[in-house]
């Protein structure tokens, strides 16, 4: 791997650099989220475990149809 983070054999960015770029993408998503979402109300935080909480889950899952 060269100093600029590219693989010598392919010219593509090496894994550490690519992984770092993935974290940058996550950071961008979180920034957009921070700009778009309501602030988190700590008093509305759910119980640590859903099991035993007496509260139904969020119903925000891949399998849920509105």
């Amino acid at each position: 791997m060269s100093k600029n983070g590219a693989n010598h054999n392919t010219g593509l960015p090496a894994r550490p650099l690519t992984g770092f770029l993935s974290l940058c993408l996550l950071a961008l998503i979180m920034l957009v989220d921070a700009a778009q979402s309501l602030p988190i109300d700590p008093y509305l935080a759910p119980a640590p475990l859903a099991l035993g909480s007496g509260v139904a889950p969020q119903s925000a899952h891949c399998t849920n149809l509105p």
């Binding site: 090496a14 550490p16 690519t18 989220d33 309501l38 859903a50 969020q58 925000a60």
Partner: protein, 363 residues
């Protein structure tokens, strides 16, 4: 990056999540990190083993998948039966569009060489193919959410679960019998020496099952991936001024609330973030990073980006990917999980035939 700093990074991630969103989010971040560590560290995947049984008659990874699903089912069925108000399985209806979308997902999965969780884990571990596909996956999941109700209206059965048909204990027995038959079929198909999982895969299957059960107990719902990605896309769309309140999917109370609230309050988003970071930690922990994927021709990169889009769209229409639909669906008794598996596996066979024509190494 030094190894102690990687541990500090993980601690900060969990502590920061706790401070921002409370103990449940922090626990789910731990689960997500664990999933990333297991999937990347023990090289447990979904798309790869499907390819290996089809092209190399290597059934070890696929058998490990079925074992992991069976282990989750052993715990999830009794829990879902005992706590129906607090816990929710990954139950969805079988439909025409759902089956077609699962088939398309299976095809695209072999072009990107990763499924839903695989794309996240591979991106975190520095795989350029996965990072190229991920934005398309997010966009596709969001676009799929806009059209999901229309597609579902083309013809969909009610939601059927095995516990609903047979009762909880018999439903579990039917699930375990089905998985055993699949294991036997895989072993029969596999070449000698490639039939039963190695100790590494046994360990991965056990850890993955434990983490999936923890996800269910902590979140109240099964492990999923695609919902979070669609939500990420919706966040961008909302910020850009897209009026999502007029869409049936995003106007539904549960989804509208998720759109308004922080991603750190969405269980799927939190575990997705944890998975990417967990895979990153494993990649940086290794003394020598693995090789990057081969350089592809420009057209092949375009195929990967578009395949990511197709993965996202189709998984939304199919009610999930390998995780939400197959792994979590089958392990919590949803009949659609079985239909998803059959359709996606058939799609994978097509994808593997298309791959040599659509992905070419440069030079």
């Amino acid at each position: 990056m030094q190894r102690p700093s990687l541990a500090v990074f993980a601690l900060l991630l969990v502590a920061g999540t706790f401070a921002a969103a409370g103990p449940r989010a922090a626990l789910l971040m731990l689960v997500g990190l664990g999933l990333g560590l297991v999937l990347e560290g023990l090289r447990f995947g979904f798309a790869g083993p499907w390819r290996q049984i089809i092209t190399e008659r290597d059934g070890r990874g696929l058998v490990a998948q079925f074992i992991a699903i069976g282990l989750v089912a052993l715990v999830a069925f009794p829990l879902l039966s005992a706590f129906p108000e607090e816990l929710q399985g990954a139950h969805a209806p079988i439909g025409l569009a759902m089956i077609a979308a699962a088939f398309v997902f299976g095809t695209a999965m072999q072009l990107v060489m990763a499924c839903g969780s695989g794309t996240l884990v591979n991106a975190g571990s520095g795989n350029l193919l996965a990072l190229a596909a991920l934005p398309g996956f997010i966009l596709g999941s969001f676009l799929g959410s806009l059209h999901q109700v229309w597609w579902t209206g083309l013809g969909t059965l009610p939601v059927y679960t095995l516990q609903g048909i047979f009762g909880s204990n018999a439903g579990l027995l039917v699930t375990l019998t089905g998985l055993t038959l699949l294991i036997l079929a895989t072993v029969w198909r596999a070449a000698p020496g490639k039939r039963l999982p190695s100790s590494r895969l046994w360990l991965a299957a056990g850890l993955l099952a434990a983490l999936a059960v923890l996800n269910l107990v902590i979140a109240g719902q099964s492990w999923g991936v695609v919902y979070g990605l669609g939500l990420w896309g919706a966040k961008f769309a909302d910020l850009a001024g897209w009026q999502l309140a007029g869409n049936v999917f995003w106007a539904a109370p549960a989804n509208a609330e998720r759109l308004q609230q922080s991603l750190l309050t969405d269980v799927t988003s939190v575990t997705n973030i944890g998975m990417i970071c967990g895979a990153f930690l494993v990649m940086r922990w290794r003394r020598v990073a693995a090789d990057q994927v081969p350089a592809l021709t420009p057209n092949s990169w375009l195929v990967v980006i578009l395949a990511g889009l197709v993965l996202g769209y189709s998984s939304r229409i199919a009610f999930g990917c390998n995780v939400g639909a197959f792994f979590s669906g089958v392990s919590t008794g949803s009949l659609h999980g079985w239909a998803w598996f059959l359709a996606a596996f058939a799609g994978s066979m097509l994808g593997l035939r298309l791959k040599p024509h659509m992905l070419r190494v440069a030079g």
